[in-house]
């Protein structure tokens, strides 16, 4: 049994609007939290290089 055309239209409207709202919220979070992650990434890389240098000397 195939679903009615109206069902599909409503479903795709909900998916589109819901998806855009979810993505917008996530984009704000990732933009802010990503800056802190980048700082941490460089700190870790610098620490690991210092450690490597210490071990080789």
């Amino acid at each position: 049994m195939s679903l009615s055309l109206q069902f599909w239209i409503v479903l795709w409207k909900i998916v589109l609007i819901g998806g855009l709202i979810l993505f917008g919220s996530m984009a704000v979070w990732v933009t802010i939290a990503g800056v802190f992650d980048i700082k941490r990434l460089f700190q870790r890389l610098a620490e690991s290089h210092e450690k490597e240098k210490g071990e080789s000397s």
Partner: protein, 563 residues
């Protein structure tokens, strides 16, 4: 200038937008130069020292998977399939969330601390499987990215109104000019090669973050402007009038989808996040297995949106062309007999070129170029590091030092880049770009799926079964239209040579006689069917090979770490 050229040239793209588009990619080049200072070994180069936090992981996963190629092929699918194409996005989002929530495959892989999937093959199935797996992965993957450069460049050509134009060369050269498409292909490829070679995964991650920020807000803004221009209700009404129920209901096979296609898309959604090497590379670069799960649950929203929004743009382009622009309608759907239609990949960029205002159009285009670059860098890095780490290094008995490996990876990045340029200009297939991508990807991922599931969850999976599964995946190549054409020519040749075989050949599923010349045979099998048959084949041969030829020695089941 003829009427068609005049119609295609119309755009809001201005000089300011050109400045934005040219300057923006330089940010990535600068990031590559900065990142190069932090690269001291292969782990830094390939996985950014396995130090990615959740937010940066989501940004880089989105940055890689939301490439310009994705935007282009998805818009094409929306243009041809209407809202029914949304099922692909929904399947991708749901399946990615499932993978994040359960940790299916990715959690155990990250727990093993491998750098690449073939490295897992080695630890689980041995060196031969690693080398064969690396070759199959690189073959399928490099073929898969063969159209990236061309399709990405088509976006820039379409949105700037350069379609069918020649770019001028210095007068002293005495040449008429270079066509816009190959010129832009060369320009973009050069930029990507420079910064990917310099900084490896660290520069990739930074570029992905910048791209995420610009593109995510750009996507939302463009969608709002498209709705404002065409009208929310009008978009749905127009699709209903022009495409009927097939424009909404994906189960209707006449619309280009059908139940078989939906099942294939569900599997592709699973593969796209948990087996596809560029996605798995992000999982392996995460700071912990727990972070991987969080990263994928968040990224499920991106996996939904990366298809959904471009489908919607493609649908809007279709409505725009069919209802508001009769000249464009004549170009894309010519009624004159024998007239050649303009490639429908150009529809979405031309639409954006008409509705977006100056400056915004420059920022969106720059974001798209960033998307193009972030996908290219990840794919180039992925396939080149697989060839270095999992094919060349094991062949040399792992005697290659870290510096040689990084150098070799950089050489391979350039070689793959040159191939992509060549293939983009050469390949002439009839299928939608998305279906081309699915089929070429299947050469690798159908075998890889069987190996990963078997290797991580089934103790009796053997190296012989693994080799069978890897080789079994190569039958997916039959899904490509030029290969089907070649097989059709071969069948015609055989039937001409030995007429008694004509009957049995005609009985093969998908084989039919040409309507004009019945002596010429065609093979036409839907790509979804080829893909599903490939999966079934790899799973069957994996199980049969493992049961018939079990390993004598217990492998290094470090996979147990994740249990």
């Amino acid at each position: 200038m003829d009427i068609s050229a005049e119609t295609l040239v119309k755009t809001n793209f201005s000089t300011v937008d050109w400045v934005i588009v040219i300057c923006y990619p330089m940010i990535s080049v600068v990031l590559g130069i900065i990142a190069a200072r932090f690269v001291s070994n292969m782990k830094d180069f390939v996985t950014a020292g396995q130090s990615l936090g959740t937010a940066l992981g989501v940004a880089t996963l989105t940055g890689t998977e939301l490439g310009l190629i994705t935007v282009m092929y998805s818009a094409q699918k929306g243009f041809t399939g209407g809202f029914a194409a949304f099922h692909i996005a929904l399947a991708a989002g749901i399946v990615t969330f499932f993978v994040g929530a359960t940790g299916f495959l990715i959690y155990r892989l990250r727990a093993m601390e491998v750098l690449t999937i073939p490295e897992f093959y080695r630890r689980r199935f041995g060196r031969k499987t690693q080398i064969l797996g690396g070759i199959m992965m690189a073959f399928g993957g490099i073929l898969n990215m063969g159209l990236f450069l061309k399709v990405g460049s088509m976006f820039l050509v379409g949105i700037t109104g350069l379609t069918d134009q020649n770019l001028p060369l210095p007068a002293a050269w005495g040449l008429p000019g270079i066509p816009a498409l190959p010129a832009i292909m060369i320009f973009l490829l050069s930029l990507v090669l420079i910064y990917t070679c310099l900084g490896g995964m660290i520069s990739v991650v930074l570029a992905d973050y910048v791209q995420f920020v610009v593109l995510s807000f750009g996507l939302l803004l463009t969608t709002v402007l498209a709705i404002y221009k065409l009208g929310w209700t009008n978009i749905f009404t127009a699709v209903e009038q022009l495409k009927g129920a097939a424009g909404f209901d994906p189960t209707i096979a006449e619309g280009g989808f059908g139940v078989e296609y939906i099942v294939w898309m569900g599997f592709l959604g699973l593969i796209g996040c948990s087996v596809w090497p560029t996605s798995v590379a992000r999982a392996l670069a995460a700071e912990s297995p727990g972070t991987v799960k969080k990263q994928f649950m968040w990224a499920s929203v991106s996996y939904l949106i990366r298809f959904l929004v471009p489908y919607f743009w493609g649908i809007c382009a279709y409505v725009f062309i069919m209802t508001l622009e009769p000249q464009l309608k004549e170009l894309f759907f010519p009624e004159a007999p024998g007239a050649e239609a303009v490639d429908n990949l150009y529809a979405m960029p031309i639409f954006l070129g008409r509705i977006l205002p100056p400056v915004i159009i420059g920022i969106i285009s720059a974001g798209m170029i960033a998307a193009f670059m972030s996908t290219h860098d990840s794919y180039l890095l992925c396939w080149s590091s697989v060839l270095t780490q999992d094919v060349i290094a094991p062949i040399f008995g792992d005697r290659l030092g870290p510096k040689t490996r990084i150098w070799l990876t950089r050489v391979l990045i350039v070689l793959i880049g040159l191939y992509v340029l060549y293939w983009g200009l050469l390949y002439k297939g009839r299928e939608d770009v998305w279906d081309y991508m699915a089929v070429t990807g299947a050469i690798y991922f159908t075998g890889a799926f069987a190996l990963l599931v078997g290797g991580l969850y089934w103790k009796r999976a053997s190296s012989t079964g693994a080799v069978f599964a890897l080789l079994g995946g190569s039958i997916a190549v039959i899904g490509l239209t030029p290969v089907q054409d070649g097989i059709g020519h071969f069948f015609t040749f055989v039937a001409d040579l030995v007429p008694v075989l004509a009957g049995p050949i005609m009985a093969i599923p998908g084989v039919s006689a040409d309507q004009i010349d019945p002596n010429v045979l065609h093979l036409e099998i839907p790509s979804a069917r080829v893909g599903l048959v490939s999966i079934a084949t790899t799973v069957v041969v994996m199980v049969a090979g493992s049961l018939l030829f079990p390993d004598k020695k217990t492998p290094d089941v470090a996979a147990d770490q994740g249990r």
